[in-house]
Structure formats: C-alpha cells, structure tokens
C-alpha cells in the first residue's frame, strides 16, 4: 500500500467535496455565523481532514459523515429561511442589553454576559459613556449593535441638507500592468484615451502601472510600481520591515 498516493487521492476528494459543499451552503462570513454554525463548520472541516489522512478506516464512512453534516446544515438553513418561528427557536433572538442608557441586568445574566464584556464591546463601537446609548443589542452572531441617543449621533450630510450624487464603484482599468479592455469598453473609453492620460502622468507604458481605476466622477487613480517615496517619511516600524 502506497500511503502517499492514497492520501493524495483522498485529499483531492476531500478538498473538492468540501469546496462544492461550502459553495452550496452559501457565502456567510465568519462574523455573520452563529456560534452553532461556527461549530458546524469546524466539525465539517474536521471530518474532511479525517477523510484525507485517517487511513485506518476507509474513505466512504468519512464521506457519508461529511455529506450528512452538509445535508443537515442545508436543511437547517432552508427551514430557518422558511419559518421565522423555527429560526427563532433554533438560533435564538437578538437581546437588548442596554435601554435608554440603563443596563438590563436580567438579560445580561441570562446571556452570561459580564459588564467588562459589555464595556469592551461599547468601546469597540466608540462609546465610552453608557448614558450616550439609547439601545444596545447583542445579536445572534455575537456581534454588538449600538444606537446612540440622537444628541450623540454623528451629523450627516442629510442633516445639513447637503445634496451629493452617489459615488458608485470604481472601475479597474489596469491591473498588474495589464490594461483591462472590457472595463474600458464598459465605461465607453478607448485605449487611446488611457494612453493619453498615462502620458499626462509621465507614464510611457501601462506595464509601469500596478493599478489604475476610474471612479464614477471620472477621476483617474494611478499607482505605479515605482513609488518614489522618501524613505525618511516612512514610519520607523514599516521602514524596518522594508529593510528585512
């Protein structure tokens, strides 16, 4: 028995099976996962690892185990999507921990949430005084949402009645020295226009450019490979890293 080749084949099966299953399960980010979903992901990963290297048992039972955890997760996702009640039962509900500047001790106790945890999470939201908080909610995913009292909220352009058009997304025009012609066409621009713009920045060829993009206002951003930054202006920590 050639264990190296067996692990190679089983590794390929586990890797791509996991890739297919996770693609089907969706694109939730780690920060959006509930504690249970986080554990689910770890377990599924662990089974895939065993499928690869545990040669003391055949690959099939591990694959069945992997499939069952994937199917149950998928069923749970679909059920919680269809029924709000079941979703609340399985995943729990967001809990209000501060109301009108007052800490709700009962809720904190139920969640086994310490005051130091609460203060830390408030600080992460740039709140250093509990009295500024109108409502603070501990979400199902464990993240923290804070609504400050209106007098402590940041002034926005709409508060000042200032109108500004939406900025929209930038479009990449050059990536790693390569001109992205389809993107130019989408913006109704030509390669000639791009070359003219590059010339204005003393750039003879797109290969000198690491990244270039254009925003919805028509402003061009260009980053060259050679940055011409005075090393004296780099903070010491980064300068040291550069030397390494």
């Amino acid at each position: 028995m050639n264990e190296g080749i067996v692990v190679l084949i089983r590794g390929i099966i586990a890797f791509f099976s996991l890739l297919i299953f996770t693609r089907i399960l969706g694109k939730q980010q780690i920060s959006q996962l509930t504690f249970f979903e986080y554990i689910l992901d770890i377990t599924i990963g662990s089974i895939a690892a065993e499928l690869t290297v545990d040669l003391s048992s055949s690959a099939w039972p591990h694959f069945v185990g992997l499939s069952i955890w994937f199917i149950l997760t998928l069923i749970l996702q679909l059920v919680t999507l269809k029924s709000k009640k079941i979703a609340q039962y399985i995943e729990g509900e967001p809990t209000v921990v501060i109301m009108n500047g007052k800490i709700l001790e009962q809720a904190m106790k139920r969640l086994r949430f310490r005051i130091s945890d609460l203060l830390e999470m408030l600080r992460q939201k740039n709140v250093f005084d509990i009295s500024e908080v109108e409502i603070a909610i501990l979400e199902i995913s464990g993240s923290f949402t804070v609504l400050k009292k209106s007098q402590y909220q940041t002034v926005t352009l709409s508060d000042l009645n200032i109108k500004r058009s939406n900025q929209g997304l930038s479009t990449e025009l050059i990536y790693d020295g390569v001109v992205l012609v389809p993107n130019l066409e989408k913006k109704n621009l030509t390669e000639k226009w791009l070359y003219d713009e590059l010339k204005k920045h003393n750039i003879k060829d797109p290969s000198e450019v690491f990244y270039a993009s254009i925003n919805s206002s028509g402003n061009l951003y260009i980053d060259k490979y050679i940055d011409h930054i005075d090393s004296n202006n780099i903070p010491a920590t980064y300068a040291n890293k550069e030397k390494q």
Partner: protein, 120 residues
C-alpha cells in the same frame, strides 16, 4: 462557463469520488482476485492431504495475485484490512513450510474471513 457545465463538473466529480470510494467491492474480484477464495480451498485440501509443496506454491500464487489487488483497492479499503491479509498470508506460508496442519487450516479460515471483509 455555461450553466450546464457549472452543475455538471461538481456532480461528475462527486460521482467519480463515490465510485472510487466504493470500488473495492468489485475491484477485489479483478485480475484473478475472484480466484483467491477457491485457491484457499485448494490449499486447505492440499494441507489435509499432506501435499505441502503444492500448498506452498499456491500460497505464493495467492500472494502474487493479492499484490495486484491491494494496489487497486487501496483507495477504498481500510489500511488494516489490506495489511492483515498480507500478515496472515505470511503466517500461512510459515505453517505450510513447518507442515503444521491445524495452524494452517485455522489461518486459511481467517484469510477467507479477511477476504470477505475486504472493502465492505
């Protein structure tokens, strides 16, 4: 990539993976593997009739066939299942060379059991 290919490639991959993982059941009968239980029966008859030379040759023949089979089933069978058969075969060879009838017969039954369990 067309929608058909987008779904076809992962489904094909999963199907091929499942076939590889379940292949030992039928691969163990390829390349003369099907004959192994019958050869074991013949070894038992030889042992009982004191044909030790024939029994020895047949044990070598089983080892030769099993070497090919073990390469085929290694992706789907358990490592211990594959190796146990080798170990017991080595013991059988020893018992046949030492002309120990009882131990040889017991080992043949054990080998049959291992063969039945291989890849199930």
């Amino acid at each position: 990539m067309s929608k058909l290919m987008k779904y076809f490639i992962p489904i094909l991959f999963l199907v091929v993976s499942v076939v590889i993982m379940l292949s030992s059941g039928f691969l163990k009968n390829a390349f003369g593997g099907k004959e192994i239980p019958f050869i074991l029966d013949e070894v038992m008859v030889d042992v009982k009739n004191d044909n030790w030379n024939d029994a020895n040759n047949k044990v070598d023949e089983i080892k030769k066939v099993y070497k090919k089979i073990s390469i085929l089933v290694q992706f789907s069978a358990e490592r211990n299942e594959i190796e146990n058969f080798y170990h017991q075969l080595a013991m059988l060879k020893g018992y046949v060379e030492a002309k120990q009838e009882g131990e040889a017969i017991a080992t043949i039954y054990l080998l049959k059991e291992y063969w039945d369990e291989l890849g199930t």
